[in-house]
């Protein structure tokens, strides 16, 4: 099982209530709340409107009832006036009222048809009025026409007034009931609207509270954990691999935290391993350098001794040796070779160690010094060196870079095609925020697949007989350039010459 799948298994733990579900539930609850408040408000407004409507209707019913009462009084007064005076003019308004009252009864009855009790009352009143008209008013008018004295005696009995009193009592109860209905409706509507306002305000406050609660909740349980993870990610990116976040939750954010922690664990493990390997490598390199340095230094003394003894033999016993002098020369040659090798080794082991003495130097000065040092070999090889004028000012260690140029120009002169005088060109150009210096030749070149290997120490592509040297020069160059923060490489084809490039920091850096 790989670590990655382990991690995802760790992440995909129990999602008790996912945040999605919780947010959805909260939204649903808020919606239901708002909906309920809306419904209550609508109901209250509707009740208010209905109450206003029915109150208006009730007012109309009261007005119709009053009109009817007025008509009755008109009839009674007209009849009485006619009976007393026998003047027809008294009957005119009464006759008009006698024509209009049935319509008024119908109107009253229809206006109270929303209340069965009231409708029954209105119908009773209608019946009483009919009786009053049919059994009192009209017979009395008839009687007054034929027997006025009898009619007057009948009027005195107040039968009409009694009937009207009864009717008026019934009207009063109808009106009282209607007013009670209006009041009850208005009270109910007012109470309803007061309640609706209270509920609306309460609901609004509740909604705001819920919104604030949701915001706080999201802040506490979503935003803050995310910010925590983001901060930790920032610290992690900044190199603090010990950054961790709490991962106690059982939701998506818990997963995120656990995933982050797993990632940080894995990173820290990798870096620990890397650091460990690096330290190992450094230590072994240092040991190796130390070893090379010590060894080469210690080898100097015996070699000097061997060389000295060979000198003494030559000087004191040259005569005794006869043909043995060639052997002594062999000893001296080998000793010299060993000393060169040891010197180069020492130089290699020192290169890239110790402090760089950085200064701003015109690269042309460096090239000039290198060429000066190589004046002999250049002349011997009849080489032609062309240096471009546009070389930059660089911030480098003078001795180191001089050594690099010397090595590269030396190689360019050395690895020439027999019979072809070496043509060496030195130039420069920008390479990002650094300068690239290049040394081009028309020499033997190399296979591109060897282009990397030649910077390894003691790596030689040719036999020492053809091109003498220890094979350590390019390795030294690589170390010096690397110490400057640059790199060195070659582009070449066999027989077509090579171009060595290396980068250096500019003066402005």
């Amino acid at each position: 099982m790989t670590r990655a799948s382990e991690g995802s298994r760790l992440v995909r733990r129990t999602l008790r209530t996912p945040i999605t579900t919780r947010v959805l539930l909260l939204s649903a609850a808020a919606s239901v709340l708002i909906g309920a408040v809306m419904v209550v408000l609508i109901v209250a407004v509707t009740a208010q409107r209905d109450a206003a409507r029915s109150a208006f209707r009730s007012q109309e019913a009261l007005a119709a009832g009053n009109q009817l009462e007025k008509s009755l009084i008109t009839i009674e007064n007209g009849v009485r006036g006619y009976v007393a005076s026998r003047r027809e003019k008294f009957l005119d308004p009464a006759n008009e009222a006698l024509t209009s009252y049935p319509g008024e009864v119908r109107r009253l009855t229809s206006l109270v048809d929303d209340d069965p009790g009231q409708q029954a009352r209105a119908r009773d009143i209608g019946g009483e009025i009919d009786d009053y008209v049919a059994l009192w008013a009209r017979p009395l008018i008839g009687l007054a026409r034929t027997r006025p004295a009898s009619a007057r005696s009948v009027v005195i009995t107040n039968g009409g007034r009694e009937r009207l009193d009864t009717i008026q009592r019934d009207f009063a109860s109808l009106f009282a009931r209607e007013r009670a209905v209006i009041n009850a409706r208005e009270d109910r509507a007012e109470m309803g609207s007061a309640r609706a306002i209270a509920i609306g305000a309460g609901g609004l406050a509740l909604v705001l509270l819920v919104a604030a609660g949701v915001t706080l909740y999201l802040r506490r349980s979503v935003v803050r954990p995310v910010v925590t993870v983001a901060d930790a990610t920032g610290r992690l990116a900044g190199g603090d691999l010990s950054a961790r976040v709490p991962a106690r939750r059982h939701d998506e954010l818990g997963d995120l935290a656990r995933g982050f922690n797993a990632m940080a664990d894995s990173l820290q493990r990798s870096r620990d391993q890397l650091e460990h390997s690096n330290a190992e490598l450094k230590r072994s390199n240092a040991e190796l350098d130390q070893f090379a340095s010590v060894t080469s230094h210690d080898l100097q003394a015996p070699l000097t001794t061997i060389s000295m003894y060979a000198e003494l033999i030559e000087r004191r016993h040259a005569a005794d040796l006869n043909g043995g002098m060639a052997l002594v020369d062999g000893i001296r040659g080998a000793t010299q070779e060993a000393r060169t090798l040891i010197r180069d080794l020492l130089e290699y082991s020192r290169a890239g160690r110790g402090e760089l003495a950085l200064e701003e130097i015109d690269a042309r000065d460096l090239v000039a010094r290198a060429l000066e040092a190589l004046a002999g070999p250049i002349e011997a090889a009849h080489a032609h060196v062309h240096v471009h004028d546009d070389l930059p000012v660089v911030r480098v260690d003078r001795a180191g870079v001089c050594r690099v140029l010397q090595n590269l120009v030396g190689n360019a002169v050395k690895f020439n095609v027999p019979g072809r005088p070496p043509e060496v060109e030195i130039g420069a150009g920008r390479d990002g925020d650094m300068w690239r210096l290049w040394v081009r030749d028309n020499g033997i070149g190399m296979d591109p697949k060897d282009a990397e290997r030649i910077f390894e120490p003691f790596k030689r592509l040719h036999g020492e007989e053809a091109y003498p040297g220890t094979g350590i020069g390019l390795a030294i160059c690589e170390r010096i350039i690397a110490q400057h923060g640059g790199r060195i490489w070659v582009t070449s084809r066999p027989g077509e010459g090579s171009e060595f490039s290396f980068t250096l920091p500019g003066a402005e850096a």
Partner: protein, 302 residues
């Protein structure tokens, strides 16, 4: 509508569709008839009579609408003439003197009845069988007042010094059976009528607000012996048997059965029965409908 229903019933009967269906149609037809409108005058005995006729008719399946307490003979007869009523119980004497305007007293109750019947026939009404009881108008005084002024009959009131205050219904003023007849037949010039609601004249007599009260001989209060009735030798107050006046239209509409029921009831209205019922209502304050119901059940009419 009713004609259509009858036609359907007839057709069904012809087609021999069975009696059940027919009887149902018939009862529907009966129920569809408009209610018989019975009116009553404005005093308790009339209320009783109205209830008795109503309940008796309803017990036989006739729809009845009772219009109680309409007023005196003058107005109720006019309402009947106007067609606002179908029937009401009337006192024959009052009918003759106050409605038919007959000022000469017939010789016998029978003669009075025939005279009244003849009058009603000219108006388009029928006068049904009269009751055995007669509720005559009369003048009553307190025994003390009678003793003080030596009163025996109405004529004696002439000798009473000063004004004789008669408590009576308002129509007493204009009626022959009232001040008009008293003046004509007895020359009672010193009498003045005090209009009172019917039924309150006994209290007025007791309190001394009036000297004489116009009463009905069937009044329950008279049974107590606290009042003296003045004799009426010249017959200013006629015999007052009760007879329902009914419109001919109603008689035709409801058929002979209606008349039979009403006549049967009227024949049972004897003087003792009436006086007892009046006392139950006026003195015992019993509900008129209950008293009427009890009477009808006692007579086997309900």
């Amino acid at each position: 509508m009713r004609l259509a229903a009858l036609a359907v019933a007839a057709l069904l009967a012809l087609a021999g569709c069975g009696g059940g269906s027919d009887s149902r149609k018939a009862s529907t037809t009966a129920d569809a008839r408009p209610a018989l409108r019975i009116g009553t005058k404005n005093f308790p005995e009339q209320f009783l009579l109205g209830e008795i006729y109503k309940q008796a008719l309803e017990a036989r399946g006739f729809p009845v609408e009772l219009k109680a307490n309409i007023g005196s003979s003058e107005i109720i007869h006019q309402a009947l003439t106007d067609g606002a009523l179908d029937m009401y119980p009337e006192y024959i004497g009052v009918l003759l003197s106050e409605v038919a305007n007959v000022r000469v007293r017939p010789k016998s109750p029978d003669a009075a009845y025939r005279r009244a019947q003849a009058f009603e026939a000219t108006q388009g009404f029928a006068l049904l069988t009269p009751s055995p009881f007669s509720d005559q108008n009369a003048l009553a005084v307190k025994p003390a007042y009678a003793g003080r002024h030596h009163l025996r009959d109405i004529q004696d009131l002439k000798r009473v010094p000063g004004t004789v205050r008669i408590g009576a219904p308002p129509e007493f003023q204009t009626r022959f059976e009232g001040l008009v007849g008293l003046d004509q037949l007895y020359g009672l010039h010193n009498a003045k009528a005090r209009p009172l609601a019917i039924g309150s004249q006994y209290a007025a007599l007791d309190s001394g607000r009036v000297d004489v009260a116009a009463v009905f001989t069937t009044d329950g209060q008279l049974a107590s012996g606290r009042y003296v009735i003045l004799r009426d030798p010249r017959g200013v107050f006629g015999t007052q048997h009760v007879s329902p006046i009914i419109s001919r239209t109603a008689l035709t509409r409801y058929g002979p059965k209606l008349r039979t029921i009403i006549d049967t009831v009227s024949k049972r209205l004897t003087a003792p029965a009436m006086q007892r019922m009046n006392a139950q209502v006026q003195i015992d304050r019993r509900a008129t409908a209950d008293v009427a119901d009890e009477f009808l059940r006692g007579q086997g009419l309900k």
